[in-house]
Amino acid sequence: MRPLTEEETKVVFEKLANYIGRNIAYLVDNKEDPHVFRLQKDRVYYVSDRIAKVATSVARPNLMSLGVCFGKFTKTGKFRLHITSLKYLAQYAKYKVWIKQNGEMPFLYGNHVLKAHVGKMSEDIPEHAGVIVFSMADVPLGFGVSAKSTIEAKNLQPTGIVVFRQGDIGEYLRDEDTLFT
């Protein structure tokens, strides 16, 4: 376990900025309970500084996880966000899409969000921006990238894709073997 290098931090923050924009500041500057990013193996964890300190007593091969896993570095040095980060992404989300009840299960099975399933969406979503997907009851379901801007999406066919899925909470069941460790 170690703090991120400058380069790694840059890669991670660029990725996060897609989804939460300037709200990253809230992640980094938490006066009451300062949080830090930690790299363990190839995974990036976001954790309270206090917990990161006590976790130093655990040897590297035996430390499986701490705090919340945000994602992992691929072998090519890119950073990939995991669904486990949804708690924070949803909290600070910049662009949101709500889907109707009939669209919930198709999305949780790993499909993209169709126009027909969209209940409402943020007004100002540009094309190819990171969005967080919610159910109509405001339960975060996943995240993805907008296929069209809000205005263009209005003129879309009901079967047209509005959001390309990148992660959804169905992965907890589908990818349990690969997602963690």
């Binding site: 976790a55 655990v58 949780l108 159910s135 909470i169 907890y172 349990e176 460790t181």
Partner: protein, 608 residues
């Protein structure tokens, strides 16, 4: 419906009349029975009178004995019952009857009083029409139910009234059973009979049969009927009274209800229940002792794959798993260790009770199982956890000074046989030595990992999902002996039976009664055990840097030293023994008529 009921009761008019006489006689005979004890000489005369009355029904032209017995057959499916019934009819013709059978008749007659009334009503049934049909059918249903009840009562009564019943099979019967294979209904009936005898052995046991014979038969039947190994059946049987043991074994055949725990980090129980009810899930709070548990009766959607489940609003968790965490009673801003955490039901509950403050160390020795642990921690949104993969005996070398430690120890699983039927055949004697051996070391490690001077805590909770004494009370007692700096305290749980303070000749610390046991038949939760310790002082062990290997070696050495004998025997004094042996040899020689002085006694002594 009406016709069916009629069939069931055979030929109404004849039977009715038959019973009427029976009833009259019944009353008479009761009085007679009382008088019989007082004036025995008149017995014979009365007996003849009685026989006369018996003959009464025979004279009636309609009565067909065969038909009657057939009707009886449909009423009582039980073999025994049939026999009893037939007995009675035989007796009608038999003049010289022993008293025992007399009583048979008595009880039978009493049991049938009520059906007779129903007969009267079924006569009226000629008048039924479409309007009151339903009412009648309802009535008949009730009657049928009552009859059944009566039959059961009767069965009970018969047994109490008929002591020394032959329950155990004879040798020939046993031979036969071996050849023809087991008849499960018969085995079951016999099991219940034997239990009844064991409950009141003095009055009900057959002459010349010992209690051991009954218990052996019962154990054999349990093995056959439920599919346990003889070893495990005996082990579990010894925990309970015979009737409770049967209840326990039967409860192990039924699955416990599906229960879920609300994740209070994300939602509230009322809201969750509302959303799930809207999805077609039929549920209800588990009980007054938990504010977060819900019991699921049936569901139209897979309860482990709803959007709410995936969003971490609840977790599927057995009701019994709530108990150790409730006993642990975690407080905010503490540092807590869960020594055997996977799959994370308890860890996430701890985290939720702490409202994501402080720090929870979740350890599991099995790397593969940490996956599900991490998955659950993330799904339920716990942010205050550290997951590590150590042999739990490495603590406190890795890190110590925790406010509270939960040790839900790996165990034989004799409390969760309903979940995993393999336990019935897989557990051997060796397991009940090795598993407690590990548990003892784990518990000592748990105790050493706690900070005795913690302002809020200093608590250790030990739990297993086993009911075996070796894994529970014995381990707790061992810890109390080895670590005088801990004491047992009340678990603070609303339900549960106190732990055993003595078991099969072993005496445990009296405080062990503060631990709690849970049985599937008593609370409809998995079999479980919870003990709560409070650490009152620190000890040199707390700072020991011994790892798992050193601890294992130390424990092995200790086990070898203690051995099986435990120093219970006095030492042998060879010299003193020699004198005594010489004396006895001399004595024997004298008996044989040999002069002991002519023989070399030293030679006769056994050589070492």
């Amino acid at each position: 419906m009406g016709r069916r009921a009629k069939n069931k009761q055979g030929m109404p008019p004849s039977l009715e009349e038959f019973q009427k006489t029976g009833k009259k006689k019944d009353r008479k005979r009761k009085a007679e029975k009382e008088s019989r004890e007082v004036k025995k000489p008149t017995k014979k005369a009365k007996r003849s009178k009685q026989e006369e009355e018996y003959k009464d029904p025979e004279d009636l032209p309609e009565v067909d004995l065969e038909e009657l017995s057939a009707a009886k057959k449909s009423l009582f499916d039980d073999d025994e019952e049939e026999e009893a019934g037939l007995d009675e009819f035989e007796q009608l013709e038999d003049d010289s009857e022993p008293e025992v059978d007399d009583e048979f008749v008595d009880s039978d007659e009493e049991g049938r009083e009520r059906p007779m009334f129903s007969d009267n009503e079924s006569d009226d049934m000629d008048a039924i029409n479409a309007a009151n049909m339903e009412e009648y059918s309802k009535k008949l249903d009730e009657e049928a139910l009552m009859e059944q009840q009566d039959a059961e009562d009767e069965l009970l009564e018969e047994n109490t009234k008929n002591p020394r019943a032959k329950v155990l099979p004879t040798e020939e019967e046993e031979e036969e059973m071996k050849q023809s294979g087991p008849d499960l209904t018969m085995v079951r009936t016999r099991m219940l009979e034997v239990v009844k005898v064991l409950e009141d052995f003095k009055n009900l046991a057959e002459e010349g049969r010992s209690r051991v014979e009954y218990v052996d038969r019962l154990l054999k039947d349990i093995c056959e009927y439920f599919g346990y190994t003889p070893f495990l059946a005996e082990k579990l049987f010894n925990l309970f009274s015979p009737s409770e043991a049967i209840e326990f074994f039967e409860a192990n055949e039924i699955h416990r209800p599906v229960t879920i725990r609300t994740n209070t980090l994300v939602t509230r129980r009322r809201e969750l229940a509302q959303t799930l009810v809207n999805k077609g899930v039929n549920l209800q709070p588990i009980g007054p002792w938990t504010k977060v548990g819900l019991q699921v009766f049936d569901s139209q959607v897979p309860i482990g794959a709803t959007p709410e489940y995936l969003a971490g609003h609840y977790i599927l968790q057995a009701a019994s798993s709530f108990l150790p965490v409730m006993a642990l009673d975690p407080q905010e801003n503490e540092r807590i260790l869960d020594m055997a955490a996977a799959p994370g039901g308890k860890t996430t509950y701890i985290s939720a009770l702490m409202k994501n403050t402080g720090c929870v160390f979740a350890n599991d020795a099995n790397k593969a199982r940490t996956k599900s642990l991490i998955a659950n921690i993330h799904r339920l949104g716990c942010t205050n956890t550290v997951v590590c993969n150590y042999d739990a005996r490495e603590f406190p070398k890795v890190i110590g000074g925790f406010d509270r430690v939960l040790l839900d120890a790996p165990c034989s699983g004799t409390g969760v046989i309903a979940k995993d039927q393999n336990v019935k055949v897989n557990r051997t004697e060796k397991d009940f030595i090795q598993i407690p051996h590990l548990q003892k070391q784990l518990l000592l490690s748990a105790i050493d990992s706690v900070d005795a001077h913690s302002a809020t805590g200093g608590v250790i909770v030990y739990s297993t999902c086993s009911v075996a004494v070796e894994e529970n009370e014995a381990v707790v007692d061992y810890a109390l002996r080895k670590r005088p700096n801990v004491k047992l305290v009340e678990t603070g749980l609303a339900i549960g039976k106190p732990g055993f303070t003595s078991y099969r000749g072993k005496q445990f610390n009296q405080k062990v009664s503060l631990t709690r046991r849970y049985y599937p038949h008593a609370y409809n939760v998995d079999g479980f055990f919870v003990a709560k310790f409070q650490k009152v002082a620190s000890s040199p062990h707390d700072v020991s840097k011994a790892g798992a290997k050193e601890k294992e070696m130390a424990a092995d050495a200790e086990a070898e030293k203690d051995g099986l004998i435990h120093g219970d025997f006095a030492n042998f004094d060879d010299e003193a023994d020699k004198e005594i042996m010489k004396e006895s040899i001399k004595h024997n020689l004298k008996k044989k008529g040999i002069n002991p002085n002519t023989v070399d006694i030293e030679k006769k002594l056994p050589k070492h």
